[in-house]
Symmetry: C2
Subunit: 428 residues, 2 copies
């Protein structure tokens, strides 16, 4: 790790700078594939699946038989684990149901909100070296709780052209019935425009590589919403003498194994902890199967020694980490003042990986500093708020003159008239 | 209005089709201005203000003296009206404060959410023929309630190079202190990158013409969030024998006067109402100062006669109107089943213009069918949810094995290790 001891405030932003990703060169490719899928539907999806995934696919939808057969290919222990994770995630997301009351803003003027599910949603689940079935729990559980009617799952085929049984089992467990073996840009394009077999959706969720990320961004140009923009995964750990070097090292490494571009930052007020963590990382890294990936990520990572908690806090809020672990004697100081973070893990026995899988919080979180303006995925991500109002004769008599004056001042006479015609009727 | 009597279901989507706007030809211009403002700051903003607004500006920030002088240029009646509207909007948006409780998802595993304000927000207020100060109430009131620290307002100069006193008065009333006389693409670019005097922000809100709309879309490529994509304003009225033709005509016209591209749709089960509304529109339109604009919008508008409430409901949900007025004997049938609408106005004495100004609901709403996946602006638009978790030794003993199993199945050994190292310590 690159070590910075008591850096000047002016240096912070350059120390905390994330590597910029150039997307503009991908954009043209994405636009081209979008147009192809829009115009040629399945034929285009087929062609790109062959080109990018090396798989010849005749149809993309996974059959009911294949889905139900998946349960037999997974150990009972893993099934139980997935079920436990699912019920924790369900419990936490259920607690996010909000019940808005009717508000009488003026006598006779009643306003209220009702949240309605987004009817059609698409879930993108990355493939790659390992089947990331945990992301299905994080997206399908809140989608179901919200009441989304149509949930479409897309995931790229493995080398043999199929999806891992863990993916199929978890999807089925969450009640997802429409599963397509399609990935990458072509999957996002299909969810945007629809094809002969893949339905179009109103909002697309889920993580992905840089191609998927740019494709989701382009999809918004065609009227589809997305969960959030994405970037490489990140972890910041803030600690003091209270932190255990071995625990912290294991957390930093858990983030580092995600990819060579993972961002890992340690901020501490303890010089001892700083050097201990460094030693522990070296020790623990040796034993990792994904050692090479982790080593590269760690090489680009930073550990920063700061003078006090206030400096650490300012660094947190300037960086806006996706994941933040806080192990500090002044725990409540941080909890009260953290403004920008995706998800916060508090105390020595709260590893980030608990939240990645099973504690109940969502692991689809804003990266790349987007914690400054975006929430992680939550129940509301699958809902939209519709406002309602009902005004009685008394109500329009109360606020009508206000509307008339303001509409006139804005030069909108017909807006005024819509009130005047009603007031005239009442005053007849 | 174009009239459709009992159209076949297959025809609905073509009847309800909105005129498509071509944005791709604007995109290049927007990108060019963005690069100029990014590289040259105020100088570029100055140049485009001269080019597009015909105004030579030396500085953009409105002085404190100008702001406080504005109050003297407005009638007391209008000030009282603005104050009343503000307190209704405040009351309704305050009711949207959610208080999440801590959830123990498994014994020893505590998860909770805290909503934090987006620290820096930009509010865009269009200029044009009339000062749309009501939009300031709709954006600045929830921004203040949310606790946003920096609220930047941009609005294009009038021909004399200044902002209308109504704009300045309303902004000051809402506690907005940084006001810039800058509009159009250059304003959005300045809020995205910042200039020597105009601060960059994390999220941009507010309506605007097609240039502003495309600029906001492009801004998202540079890491800024926006409230929602936008399109021309819309109103759908659904009614039956209960509807009063004169009231409904006044509502349709209030929407039609917004612009020639405004979308106005009447859906009714009553053939009598359909023809009465048509007559009333012709009568009332004659007296409007913005008659020509309204006439053009009405010409492109549609009235649809349907067989029953169920068909009307399906049309609502397929169209997803920004504004929806429901005047029906079967009111509750609709209220329970409306899925896609920005804001719903219920009953004969609830004109849309009440919600545009003073009832308390927000008038920044999803157009162009975006009600299918976006909420209108509300308190949460200015907040983001941060999740927290704290796990005790008992907690990690409970869910640790689940995490270990799932991490291993996803091929992420370091994720597993972060749990194992803690379980080993506990079980020592």
């Amino acid at each position: 790790m690159k070590t910075f001891k008591y850096p000047e405030v002016e240096q912070w932003s350059s120390i905390l700078m994330r590597p910029t990703q150039s997307v503009s060169d991908i954009e043209d490719t994405v636009e081209e594939i979008f147009q192809e899928v829009k115009n040629k539907g399945n034929m285009a999806v087929q062609r790109y699946t062959e080109l990018f995934d090396g798989v010849q696919a005749e149809e993309f939808e996974v059959s009911e038989e294949t889905i139900s057969a998946a349960a037999n290919q997974i150990s009972e222990e893993l099934k139980t684990a997935i079920n436990t994770a699912k019920s924790n995630i369900e419990r936490f997301h259920k607690s996010q149901i909000t019940d808005y009351k009717m508000v009488e803003t003026s006598p006779g003027v009643n306003c209220w909100i009702r949240k309605k599910p987004i009817q059609k949603v698409g879930l993108y689940i990355p493939g790659g070296t390992a089947p990331l079935f945990s992301s299905i729990l994080m997206l399908a559980v809140p989608a179901k709780l919200a009441g989304c009617e149509e949930i479409i799952l897309c995931s790229p085929p493995g080398k043999d052209g199929t999806l891992a049984p863990e993916i199929l089992y978890t999807a089925a467990l969450c009640g997802v019935k429409k599963i397509f073996t399609v990935g990458g840009i072509q999957a996002i394009a299909a969810l945007t425009f629809g094809t002969e077999t893949i339905p179009s959706v109103y909002k697309i969720f889920g993580p992905g590589n840089q191609f998927v990320t740019v494709a989701k961004q382009i999809a918004t140009k065609y009227g589809v919403a997305i969960d959030m923009p994405a970037g490489p995964s990140e972890l910041m750990v803030v600690s003091d003498e209270m932190g255990r070097a071995d625990f912290i090292a294991s957390d930093l490494l858990s983030q580092a194994e995600h990819g060579t571009d993972s961002q890992v930052v340690l901020v501490t007020t303890s010089e001892t902890l700083l050097s201990e963590v460094d030693k522990e990382i070296k020790k623990q890294m040796e034993l990792l199967p994904r050692k090479e990936i982790a080593a590269k990520a760690i090489k680009n990572s930073k550990s920063i020694l700061v003078a006090n908690d206030n400096d650490a806090l300012r660094i947190i809020n300037e960086y806006g980490p996706e994941h933040l672990i806080v192990v500090s004697e002044n725990e409540s100081y941080y909890l009260d003042r953290i403004m920008n973070a995706g998800s916060v893990f508090v105390g020595s026995y709260t590893p980030e990986s608990a939240g990645d899988y099973a504690s109940g919080t969502n692991h689809t979180l804003p990266t790349n500093g987007y914690a400054k303006q975006y929430s992680g995925v939550n129940l509301d991500s699958f809902l939209k708020s519709v406002t309602f109002q009902k005004i009685s004769k008394e109500g329009i008599r109360n606020i009508g003159p206000v509307v008339e004056l303001m509409a006139e001042a804005e030069g909108l006479q017909a807006h005024k008239n819509a009130v005047s015609i009603r007031l005239n009727e009442i005053n007849k």
